[in-house]
Point group: C2
Chain length 305, copies 2
């Protein structure tokens, strides 16, 4: 979301405090640790599993998570490739919750061509027998919503060894699949991104397909809808979608080359620790804890080679 | 923030699912419970401890919490009464973090008259010997940041019986006092509201003075600042403050008569339970847990009497 998370800084006098912090480095801050990252601590995103949601204000880059939701990732790419979303709109901005996009005419949505309009849910997956599942870097911190939480290749996730379930968690900027009451009523024709405090009660109730790795502000700072649930009440309030493309289909010169910090490394463990116990002198009481959705997963535009 | 929290509803087919939910009421939803509220389940806000931050887009209503931060509540009212904030600006909109307002010229801020420009911090208070502290309605749910969490007269809060500390927590829409490195470097001349996922690591590190009970969208949906830490880089990007007033000083006809749900009642316990275990048929897996900052503290405009 941001290249470097804010370390201290509710200021009055922020820059003064930064200078002081550098003079008395009791513990390293997140930015200090991130500055030590080697090229190998970063990874690119797979262009075959990355979407560009192009809005008038700019591009939203979404990294899909086929390891967790293979059918939905596939279908959403099929939708993008048949240009399903082009000309549709962001139809909802619900304060402290989600922004949602798709067809404003929910009762008679645009017909799909090769993609599917209904798909069996992928709320969670069986992790013990899974192939191709990225390593789970478990946080030691307690979580009220799941027995175990941590990161899977850049995605916040949780798992329950007793039930053999693993799932992506509804942290800020995560992207999910709108559905009706039936489990198979979603398909990716209607998607949302979390733009407020993590609605973790949605975990395992809805298919999560990815994460916004760049441009979340083009969704999070939208005017709030004044209709029920934050839907826009008038057509002209909706934000038109210029296009949704699979990054691989976009000419290289027009791509946004996002890199994501690797989450299965000693560096990421050190970054997490820097958030768990933030440095003085600005911080007086280190929390001794970091909540899953407060772990910043750094992203950046790939440096020129 | 919202009068009625969204119950189900990431939809495709929301209205259909609502109808179904009404037909099969397995558990009551938040809205169902809130609809049973009696007039005594609501309370007004104290006009002597409520601020109106009037921006071009509308009014932000802030309820102060003098029980937790008496000196800061007093000083901020003194600042408002000497019209300190009028003509200053929202200077920062940091995505998934805070919006902050005060004097854009941090190095040479507007001089105060009767108010104080420095104030000893009020990070936490000693609750066991406190008079006038509202009852603490403890949540039974585990929390990683504090031994005990719950609500104190409409404010999310935490406490530690071992250290005899109680404090307000950095949930969405909470308002705090910007400061530099020194504990006494804040005064209320620079204030912020939480506009993203709860930055609970700030708890006990900064003085929290209240909560936005109406109009948070006028801060949370602002364009993000593109400077370091989300500060606006150009003067014209800042949002001018028309005025900040103590509600008691505003003619009754011009007041915004906000009511807040009482948090020390059986109804509030039932509301919390409705969030902890949300109703089918839309919800397939009740969370069995609600995190402190996911507890919606309902507000409304007082009905005509």
């Amino acid at each position: 979301m941001r290249r470097v998370d804010c370390i201290a800084a509710l200021c009055a006098g922020f820059f003064v405090s930064q200078v002081l912090a550098q003079a008395v480095p009791a513990r390293p801050g997140y930015g200090d640790v991130l500055a030590t990252a080697k090229p190998a601590d970063w990874r690119g995103v797979d262009v075959e599993n990355t979407l560009y949601l192009d809005l008038p204000a700019g591009r939203v880059v979404i990294e899909l998570a086929p390891a967790f939701a293979p059918r939905h990732a596939e279908n959403i790419k099929a939708l993008a490739r048949e240009k399903y979303f082009d000309g549709l709109a962001v139809i909802r901005s619900h304060d402290n919750y989600v922004a949602q996009w798709g067809d404003p005419d929910e009762k008679n949505p645009r017909a799909v061509k090769s993609a599917k309009s209904k798909l069996a849910a992928e709320y969670s997956m069986r992790f013990k027998d899974a192939k191709d599942l990225p390593p789970f870097a478990r946080l030691r911190d307690v979580d009220g919503y799941a027995p175990e939480v941590g990161h899977s290749n850049g995605f916040p996730s949780a798992r329950d060894p007793k039930t053999n379930e693993a799932w992506l968690t509804h942290c800020y900027a995560m992207v999910g699949v709108g559905r009706g009451t039936e489990d198979d009523s979603g398909s990716g024709m209607s998607l949302y991104a979390v733009t407020g405090h993590a609605p973790r009660h949605l975990d395992r109730n809805i298919t999560v397909v990815g994460r916004v790795v760049q441009g979340i502000q083009h969704l999070s700072a939208l005017p709030r809808g004044t209709g029920a649930l934050g839907f826009y009440e008038k057509a002209e309030q909706r934000v038109p979608i210029k296009s949704v493309r699979v990054a691989a289909d976009v000419p290289p010169a027009e791509r946004t080359n996002v890199e994501v910090i690797r989450t299965d490394t000693p560096l990421f463990a050190a970054l997490t620790e820097a958030l768990r116990n933030r440095p003085g002198p600005w911080f007086k009481v280190p929390a001794g804890h970091v909540e899953l959705c407060n772990v910043n997963i750094a992203t950046r535009i790939a440096p020129a080679r």
